[in-house]
């Protein structure tokens, strides 16, 4: 039984896109490997050069970093390259049931490419953006996020709350109008919200590091298979990544795995047909 689970996980193929200033590929790759999947790191140029369909993969990881230096705005130049050179293949991948996880720069890119929130699965027409934090500038500090339990998101199943590091200067998720924001909430596409110590969604800095309306920390599409989030599950693969790991150790609650790994495991298990 156990080996069956492992074999299924081991059949899951993950594509980690790299290049042009992205920088979280190593931890993302390791995260998916820890969950049992097969991971290929590929430079975007090689993906563009080969005509191999993306449907060869179950999961595409859009990792964090500074694609093209965040010049013009975060994710814009990278998203533009995907729009003009890879969009058809991405659309086929998505329509055939593929999963995508975008973290930080990956989230920004998915939003700017119009993959998120993807209302009515109308991908490709951006209706949202990820703008500069209310308190200007890049900032690195841990935040607490809470999952919308009614969200269709497959990546957050079984997770209630997580602590993760936020590391960005542009993380404020904005939609073109307030009606869309209502819709986002009503359709439970806000997969993750910044919460305070009591677990309540908050607009207060630093618990909400960027001032996102409705405390949006992560957004999924209506299928639940595409998720983008600002904080980094890839930087909490190990218990000892947590700022208070030593306290947890004293309390006897320190675990080898970090909470961020659960996001990866959800994606892999969904793709492995273990969670349907």
């Amino acid at each position: 039984m156990r080996s069956d689970v492992e074999a299924r996980r081991n059949n899951v193929r993950v594509l980690v896109l790299t290049g042009f200033g992205l920088n979280c590929e190593a931890e993302t790759t390791h995260g998916f490997r820890l969950c049992g999947a097969q991971v290929e790191q590929k430079h975007l140029s090689d993906v563009l050069l080969s005509k191999r369909p993306l449907t060869d993969y179950h999961i595409i990881a859009m990792v964090g970093g500074f694609s093209f230096g965040d010049h013009i705005a975060a994710g814009v130049v990278w998203a533009n390259r995907l729009r003009y050179h890879l969009f058809d293949r991405i659309m086929r991948f998505v329509s055939e049931g593929g999963l995508m996880l975008g973290v930080c720069n990956g989230f920004q890119t998915m939003v700017k490419l119009g993959l998120l929130p993807g209302f009515d699965r109308g991908y490709g027409q951006p209706v949202a953006t990820v703008a500069a934090n209310d308190r200007l500038g890049y900032r690195n500090a841990w935040v607490r996020v809470k999952v919308d339990l009614e969200s269709p998101c497959v990546w957050t199943r079984g997770i209630d709350e997580m602590e993760l590091p936020a590391r960005h200067g542009e993380g404020k998720f904005l939609l073109q109008n307030n009606e869309l924001l209502d819709r986002l909430r009503d359709e439970h596409l806000v997969a993750l919200r910044y919460v305070d110590e009591q677990g309540k969604p908050t607009q207060r800095w630093p618990d909400n590091p960027n001032g996102s309306p409705d405390a949006v920390a992560g957004v999924c599409d209506p299928t639940g298979r595409l998720l983008g989030l600002m904080p980094h599950p890839d930087a909490y693969l190990y218990g000892i990544n947590h700022p208070h790991w030593a306290r947890k150790k004293l309390e006897g609650t320190l675990q080898r795995e970090g909470q961020g790994l659960r996001v990866f495991q959800n994606g892999v298990d969904y793709a492995a047909d273990l969670k349907n």
């Binding site: 010049h71 013009i72 951006p126 209706v127 900032r139 500090a141 904005l174 890839d234 990544n241």
Partner: protein
């Protein structure tokens, strides 16, 4: 054709840069401005259709928050607008990315001459013309790299749309001239200064003499050169012989005199006090365990030590002081991306793991008049931070250590230390990665950025004092993304075994990189006409020595050239074949058909005459402050925590990424709120393995005001102690020395040069003593010897500053210990001896005094204690461990308590030595060798069995009520709420 697109925020959406500029104008310039709005401008030189330009505008403007217009975007009413754009030839990284966007959009390759030039419009409301001018010159534009114009609203709206582009249309035909070295000494000296060669008269004469050798001349005629050196040769020699590259002072013969002591002659401080001790430590390691973990020291770009079966560790710390004084943002950014290249270019290439930074600055809150020609320290601090933040974050490298130290003598030259740790696979493509050598026949390949006039004379300029005539082109602009893309490519090429050697183009540009690499093969022939330029019109000597950023030079075997070039093309990295490594014995540089440099390697590298210098030590005497006795020192502690050198720098530090790569274990800030600086950083080195690297440092320029010997001993001790106290292995720890000194060569402008040199000698002596005692070998270092400025006849010299950084191994990161108290009821112990050593302390500095009793290091006490602490941590006996450093015991206790937001109830009389001291000495003496630790009561016995007898005392316990209560000699000398302490700690630099 030229097109212009303007992008601004829609009404109702915040304009981040406008808001940022507004608050900076109000706080930096005290101008009560009403509103600021910013537009981004893209001036596009490309063959695009009208529809394509409109589509580009849609892509450049954010669909939610912004609006764009082709031509002019209508601004809201304003008083004055400032337009700021780069000067011709300055790197425009955003413009480069915008061109990528256009190319992707157009779906065809645009003409090679296509370019995008970015600029910005800043609309100011509520200012007059004079204020607008101040804002433009003091804040918005740095005239070294940018140009600007100011228009009123009516003039702006009446002006035609600006389609000018900053290009260099040079009609200059590159020439190589000969330079006449005949004539008087004054003429030679003038030549050296005017061309910024920074060569001494003796060195100029040595060059002249070489050119009088018949054999030397005969060889030159064969290649078509005359009797005088070419400008390219002279510049090449000046780079190679610069203080920056040759460390002339550290290699000089020094006669040292000290009253009452026999004089001594030192043949090279470097050899005597740095290299030889390291070699002795290597021998000791070999004797003790059969092998040494020193892998590669001193001769490469960075030091290399063994880590585990898979990886070596690489570490280098650099300074980038002079450029940061002129252009803090650009100068500091090149500091970090430059040291990244050093570590990257070690062996066959290292993966970059962690950055460190540290800045010595003048107090940014100063309201004193700043000498003309210098920037306000607040502007310097702000720019330096932003530069290293952007450089580090965009390169995807977390920082592990960061610190600031303030003293008004850093007004003349700020010190900007940047370092990078790398990990190097022990083997790559079947070869040991730490070895490299260019072979005869290998191609000389340069890759990365293009060459421009930026960064010409960086190496020689940093070897001179800063004055009004300092060259503007010495400033380089970094482009971290171009470099990151190049590094990603080079790692692939390394792992495919596509090259034999690599080094970075830093100081001295190609003249240094090729000049050094070709020592292995025995010569090189380089053609500068094949080098890719940013713009035409550069003379050969400029191409040869330009320090334009983001470039590496490689030795590529002819059979790998095609594969290397193919991979470069696929990774969008420009690579150029510039010539061939030879075994001719000559550094032979051509410009197309003409020879411009023909220098024997032997002369280029060994022709430099050795310096002979005199050092004279006269210990200074400082006034002792009068200490008024008080009963309660709570207020003193609160004031002390707000002193710039003790206050929190977290606000700035949080802007630096410290977790990318997912390997961080002990972060730069620790404690329940993550707001207290840690003693040392701990990182995993690779995913899937729990051994890690520990980093810390020590720097004590204020002790050097009394004696640089003890300042240095204290710096080494502090670095070692903080690392050990966090869990590092003392027997697997290496050090890096970074010397920043005021000019120590006696001259008319430096009448106290002999004293400053004596300080250097004493410092180096202490370095050797401390490193050998602890068994911590120096593996790499850097010296910067001209940290003086002369502005309007006023000379400002920095205090002698040695930064000592350590890198060490921890076998199991899950045993690492942080400095914050963690539990109620834990026992609080002081390890190590406190003495009456308030000289140079922060307490004395707060009183405006220096004093004389400088903290010393009692190695016979500290070494056994540190070994015991290492054992205690390996046995998991410590809940927290905090090294007592700047500010003394009271500050250390306060920090541990603040970090855990818990209280302490302590009686210092439990410690015999503390009981014998005055209260100020007990609380604030900065005696070295001490830790404050907390221990679970059940483990006290076990700990005491490990500690050397008499090395510790039990001062009290941790309490839940968050009050720090300390008794000394029967008095309650401290009684303060932790919140009060935290407030004082965080207030000083809040919003500064």
């Amino acid at each position: 054709m030229t097109h212009r697109i303007e992008v601004g925020y829609r009404p109702g959406f915040p304009d981040p840069r406008g808001m940022d500029t507004l608050s900076t104008i109000r706080s930096f310039l005290s101008i009560p401005i009403r509103e600021v709005r910013c537009f981004d401008v893209y001036t596009i030189e490309a063959d695009l259709s009208e529809q394509e330009v409109i589509r580009a505008c849609d892509h450049l403007a954010d669909p939610v928050t912004q609006q764009g217009a082709v031509g002019r975007l209508a601004p809201a009413p304003f008083d004055f607008v400032v337009s700021v754009g780069y000067r011709p030839g300055v790197t425009d990284a955003v413009g480069k990315s915008a061109l990528v966007l256009l190319q992707d959009m157009a779906g065809r390759s645009l003409a090679p001459s296509s370019a995008v030039f970015t600029s910005r419009l800043t609309f100011l409301s509520g200012v007059n013309e004079q204020q607008a001018h101040r804002i433009a010159t003091e804040l918005l534009a740095n005239s070294l790299i940018e140009r600007f114009f100011i228009l009123s609203q009516s003039d702006y709206l009446a002006s035609p749309i600006d389609l000018s582009i900053p290009v260099i249309n040079s009609t200059h035909t590159p020439v190589c001239g000969a330079i006449d070295l005949s004539g008087s000494d004054q003429k030679l000296e003038r030549l050296s200064k005017e061309r910024i060669l920074s060569l001494s008269l003796e060195e100029m004469k040595a060059i002249r003499e070489a050119y009088e050798e018949p054999d030397f001349l005969r060889a030159r005629t064969v290649v078509g050169l005359g009797a005088f050196p070419t400008d390219a040769e002279l510049e090449c020699l000046a780079q190679t012989w610069s203080e920056h590259c040759k460390h002339k002072i550290f290699n000089a013969t020094i006669d040292y005199y000290e009253q009452g002591q026999e004089s001594k002659t030192i043949e090279s401080l470097f050899k005597t006090y740095i290299r030889e001790p390291t070699e002795r430590i290597r021998k000791q390691q070999e004797t003790r365990r059969g092998e040494s973990w020193l892998v590669s020291v001193f001769h490469d770009n960075a030091g290399v030590i063994a880590f585990n079966d898979d990886y070596h560790l690489v570490y280098k710390v650099e300074t980038h002081n002079s450029p940061s004084a002129l252009d803090p943002y650009g100068g500091a950014m090149t500091g970090v991306v430059g040291v990244n290249r050093d570590t990257f270019g070690t062996g066959l290439g290292a993966d970059l793991l962690v950055n460190v930074w540290g800045y010595c600055l003048a107090d940014p809150r100063t309201d004193r008049q700043i000498p003309r020609g210098l920037l306000h320290p607040r502007r310097i601090r702000d720019g330096v931070h932003r530069g290293v933040i952007d450089g580090g974050n965009q390169s995807g490298i977390p920082y592990g250590r960061g610190w600031e130290l303030f003293d008004d003598r850093f007004l003349g030259k700020p010190l900007v230390f940047c370092g990078t740790v790398g990990k190097m696979p022990v083997m790559s493509a079947g070869r040991p990665t730490h070895l490299k050598a260019a072979r005869p026949g290998d191609r000389i390949v340069m890759c990365g950025g293009r060459i421009g006039k930026d960064g010409i004379h960086g190496a020689t300029f940093s070897s001179a004092q800063l004055d009004e005539s300092s060259p503007v082109q010495a400033v380089q602009i970094g482009d971290p993304i171009t470099q990151k893309i190049m590094f990603d490519f080079l790692i692939e090429a390394r792992d495919r075994g596509l090259y034999h050697a690599i080094t970075d183009n830093g100081a001295g540009g190609l003249s240094s990189s090729v000049g050094e690499m070709c020592v292995a093969s025995g010569g090189a022939q380089l053609d500068l006409a094949k080098a890719p330029l940013k713009y035409p019109g550069l003379d050969p000597w400029e191409i040869l020595i330009s320090e334009a950023q983001e470039r590496m030079t490689l030795a590529v075997a002819p059979e790998h050239l095609e594969a290397f070039m193919d991979l470069a093309r696929h990774r969008n990295v420009e690579a150029s074949d510039l010539g061939v490594f030879t075994d001719s014995g000559y550094f032979h540089v051509k410009y197309a058909d003409d020879t411009v440099v023909y220098l024997p390697l032997a002369f280029l590298h060994d022709g430099l005459p050795a310096m002979r210098l005199t050092a004279r030590w006269q210990p200074p005497r400082h006034e002792e402050p009068l200490l008024a006795e008080r009963k309660d020192y709570s207020e003193v502690l609160v004031s002390l925590l707000g002193q710039p050198n003790l206050a929190s720098g977290e606000e700035k530090a949080r802007h630096y990424d410290h977790e990318v790569k997912g390997l961080s274990v002990i972060k730069p800030f620790v404690g329940v709120r993550g707001d207290m600086p840690s003693d040392a950083a701990v990182f995993l080195v690779s995913h899937g393995s729990f051994d890690g690297v520990v980093l810390s440092e020590g720097v004590h320029p204020h002790y050097a005001d009394i004696d640089a010997y003890w300042a240095t001993a204290a710096a080494v001790d502090e670095a070692v102690r903080k690392a050990v106290g966090t869990g590092a292995r003392l027997d697997h720890m290496a050090g890096l020395d970074n010397y920043c000194w005021p000019d120590p060569v006696q001259s008319d402008i430096t009448p106290d040069g002999q004293h400053k040199l004596a300080q250097l000698v004493r410092s180096a002596t202490a370095l050797a003593k401390a490193c050998e005692t602890y068994g911590v070998p120096c593996i790499s270092g850097k010296d910067s010897m001209k940290n003086d400025s002369m502005m309007g006849g006023v000379k400002i010299s920095i205090p002698p500053t040695l930064l000592f950084s350590v890198i060490a191994k921890i076998d199991d990161v899950t045993k690492a210990v942080s400095m914050d108290v963690k539990t109620v009821g834990a026992k609080v112990l002081l390890l190590g001896a406190t003495r009456d050593e308030l000289g140079g302390s922060e307490y004395f500095r707060m009183l405006g005094a220096v004093g004389n009793a400088v903290p010393k290091v009692y190695f016979e006490e500290t070494l056994p204690l540190y070994r015991a602490v290492q054992t205690a941590i390996e046995n998991e006996l410590l809940l927290s461990c905090h090294a007592v450093t700047r500010g003394g015991l009271a500050v250390a206790l306060a920090r541990s308590a603040m970090a855990g937001r818990l209280g302490l109830v302590l009686d210092l009389d439990e410690d015999e030595r503390l009981r014998s001291l005055t209260t100020p000495a007990a609380l604030f003496s900065e005696s070295t060798g001490r830790f404050v630790v907390t221990v679970d009561p059940s483990k006290i016995k076990q700990l005491e069995a490990i500690l050397p007898s008499g090395s510790h005392s039990l001062l009290g316990v941790t309490t839940p009520d968050a009050m720090v209560e300390v008794k000394h000699r029967g008095n309650k000398v401290l009684q303060t709420a932790v919140d009060t302490l935290v407030h004082a700690f965080q207030e000083t630099f809040h919003a500064i």
